[in-house]
Amino acid sequence: MTLHKARLIGEGRPLLYATAGLVVLLSVVPMLRLLVEAVWPSGGLSLQPLREVLSDSATWRATRHSLEVGIAGTLLATVIGSAAALLFTLSDIRAKGPLVFAFVLPLMIPPQIAALSWLQVFGPSSVLLKILGLAPPLGSPNPLYSRAGIVLLLGTHFAPLVFLSLRAGLRALPRDLVEAARASGARAPATVVRIVLPVMMPPLVAGVALTFVSCIGNFGIPALLGIPANYQVLTTLIFQRLATFGPDVLSQVAILSVLIGVIAGSGIAVQGWMLTRKDYRLSGGGGDGLPFALGRWRGWIEAAAWGYGLAVLVIPLLAMLCTALVVGYGVPLTVETATLDNFRFILFDHDASARAFRNSMSLSAAAALILVPLCVVLAYFLVLKRDPLARALNVAAEMPYALPGVVLAVAAILIFIQPLPLTGGTIYNTVWIILFAYVARFLTLELRPIIAGCHQLDPALEEAARMCGAGILRRLWSIVLPLLAPAATAGALLVFMQALNELTVSALLWSSGAETLGVVVYNLESGGFTTKATAVAVLAVAATVAVMLALTLLAGRLPRGTLPWQK
């Protein structure tokens, strides 16, 4: 018996400290480095930039706008995402697997492409509307260029975050809790509202918090739709500051970033507060519940679900395909104009693309795989051990995701531009700095669902393993991780998809040989090769689908319910 040791270090302390150290490095250090930049630019204390930014009315207008679209977009995403999660998990809707696919994949469609394709479908040049004779005249103002348009795009683009998180939670819902409600006379709507959703608070709130942070930190959508309407949010304001590049630009950017961080952090604080008030531990396992029968509504609801899938996945995807299959942007796709040249070029003639596929695939997969154990350990200490250190890190973990990617990249540069202490080596100008930034940035995407999963764990399951003599690593690996598998996969999938698609971080961090897909798309695009750029994007979606299908082949070896699209 190791009494002495037990007294000195407690249960799993070294593991916690190691994890905490990593998280500090990933989340706290970049934020601190930015703070230093904000008030200590070029080696001396200066409050001038701070005063300037805080007294600028543009700052507060952008903050208000950020909050407006952030909250409204989150609400929309929550409604869509949770409705879909409930329908696809608890109802007898048909073709659940394909529906889940159709619901998750839009995360892979760059929102600007979705927006453009909608603009096309509902705009002056719409083939469909032209046939119907409903096409608005060329040049008429488009309603998507507005606050409402931004909210719509944010809501639909980030709905999968809520969806995946909630679906992972719903799969652990003990059958008898629903049955007890129904036996109490509650019908499906009352059962869902009064029992299912409240019990599912942890994953739901996790999804909502993630969405909120994503909406606040998103740049692409407000840049596309807000700039023409001169509707400025914090992220576009930061970009503007960088573009027009006044004196102390980095300080100003740092201060604005901190502002975003504060908003995101308060979202997480609200989340923490909501979850500590009540008890959400579920005992007993999930079970194949008797799904709610939709009855005569089933046809209509299925039509609505597929209609939504059509709008957010098929139309943008077709638009991408149409663009990638013609020689020049704007050329209508006909038998004569169709060509595979773009794909041929990307696949065979463009070394950078091949490298980028390799890099992005391995970077995304590596980030997802690194984050799973990291987050499981952190969530374990946070939720099951109620460790104060882990709690403190919980909020910090959010920051790198809330910051605009450019800003995180700036922070990464500031940290790693000087040779590493002790070793004297450097990861600057290598893929490793991108990996660092990815792991830091997407930490929260993995952490939120896993924390939610932890909230629903029956503590006795872990205690039983302790009784068996299993040490902490053993328990985490054999018991906690498999039980959290659905949440972990949901998170890993989010990380993988977001990282594969990501541009803003790697745009500043890549170097020759370390291109990412985003960089290649951007470079092609800005050289005027939109059709080729789109071909890359199409191939990225195809690769994601391939990865998901490959996972399906592994499904037999994974704990039940691990893959969101599995039955």
Binding site: P228, V331, I413
Partner: protein
């Protein structure tokens, strides 16, 4: 010449690659490391590196002088007195020889070939038939657009009245040239202001767009190159600048579809036969000086909400 030369540039990828290739044909022992991105991102990266105390590039090749001026003011640029500037208009380079224009990238009019009208002048964009159908990059987010705004608002007969008229005519100001091109090519908008090479690339690929040189002339930037004070391989850096300013270098720019800055070099083939190439007057110093007020003014004009 040997060693590694680090180049940060906002040139399109293909062009940058060709430039490096041609440079290497002359200096095979210099290994050129290229970081390419949009001007904003290149500058963001560079400023972060400077702030972190370890700037990486030896040579910087970006679209506009405004950023060069700021770097110069910060003391980050090295003067290269020995540069061969014969044939270069003095407007294209810094009098202190810290940066040198390498080519002229112009902004003119673009239109969708399916549109009813063909804009011939800058003023056409304020015509009633163009109302709501015009798009342009916003100077708030694009350096090239700042430049265009600076030139047009200083031109006789245009001035701020012109921008007011544009705002009246519901012109959309978007993030950059890429968006502008796409919107016109896809028919969302009919007319726009855009940089030349994007329009010609698109046209060459078959997009239903065409480029128009307005009667008054084009606005332009000179894509300056500069050597950083902190450059580690100044030798190679000088060689690189020499190459860009040389006849071959300028010829390469021309063959890539840019207007060379050095006189006596062949013009690119896209230049219309029937129209004289005119570049509008430009005072970079003045533009830089009033930039902040101008941006505010622009924001107010186009500030819908």
């Amino acid at each position: 010449q040997s060693g590694t030369l680090t180049l940060y540039t906002s040139q399109p990828n293909e062009d940058a690659a060709e430039t490096v290739e041609a440079f290497n044909a002359q200096y095979p022992d210099v290994e050129v490391e290229v970081f390419r991105s949009g001007t904003t991102k290149v500058m963001g990266k560079l400023m972060s590196e400077i702030s972190g105390g370890n700037p990486q590039p030896d040579v910087l090749l970006i679209a506009d002088v405004v950023n060069m001026e700021k770097l110069k003011a910060g003391g980050h640029l090295m003067a290269y007195q020995g540069a061969d500037l014969s044939g270069f208009d003095s407007k294209t380079y810094d009098a202190d020889k810290t940066y040198f224009g390498t080519k002229l990238i112009t902004t003119g009019l673009i239109y969708n070939t399916a549109a009813q009208h063909t804009p011939e002048t800058w003023e056409d964009l304020t015509e009633p038939w163009a109302k709501g159908k015009v798009i342009m990059p916003s100077p708030l987010y694009s350096g090239a657009a700042v430049n265009t705004m600076g030139i047009l608002t200083r031109a006789d007969g245009l001035g701020w009245d012109y921008y007011e008229a544009l705002a009246e005519n519901d012109v959309a100001a978007v993030r950059g040239n890429g968006t502008t091109l796409k919107q016109v090519a896809s028919g969302q908008k009919a007319y726009g202001m855009v940089v030349d090479f994007l329009a010609f690339n698109a046209k060459a690929q078959g997009s239903p767009v065409d480029f128009m040189v307005p009667e008054r002339g084009l606005t332009w930037v000179s894509e300056p190159v500069a050597i950083l004070e902190s450059a580690e391989n100044k030798e190679a850096a000088r060689a690189f600048v020499d190459f860009l300013l040389s006849k071959q270098g300028q010829g390469l720019a021309s063959s890539q579809g840019y207007i060379p800055a050095k006189s006596g070099v062949e013009m690119p083939d896209w230049l219309p036969e029937d129209r004289e190439l005119t570049l509008m007057e430009k005072d970079a110093g003045a533009i830089l000086e009033t930039m902040e007020q101008d941006l505010k003014r622009f924001e107010e004009l186009f500030g819908a909400s």
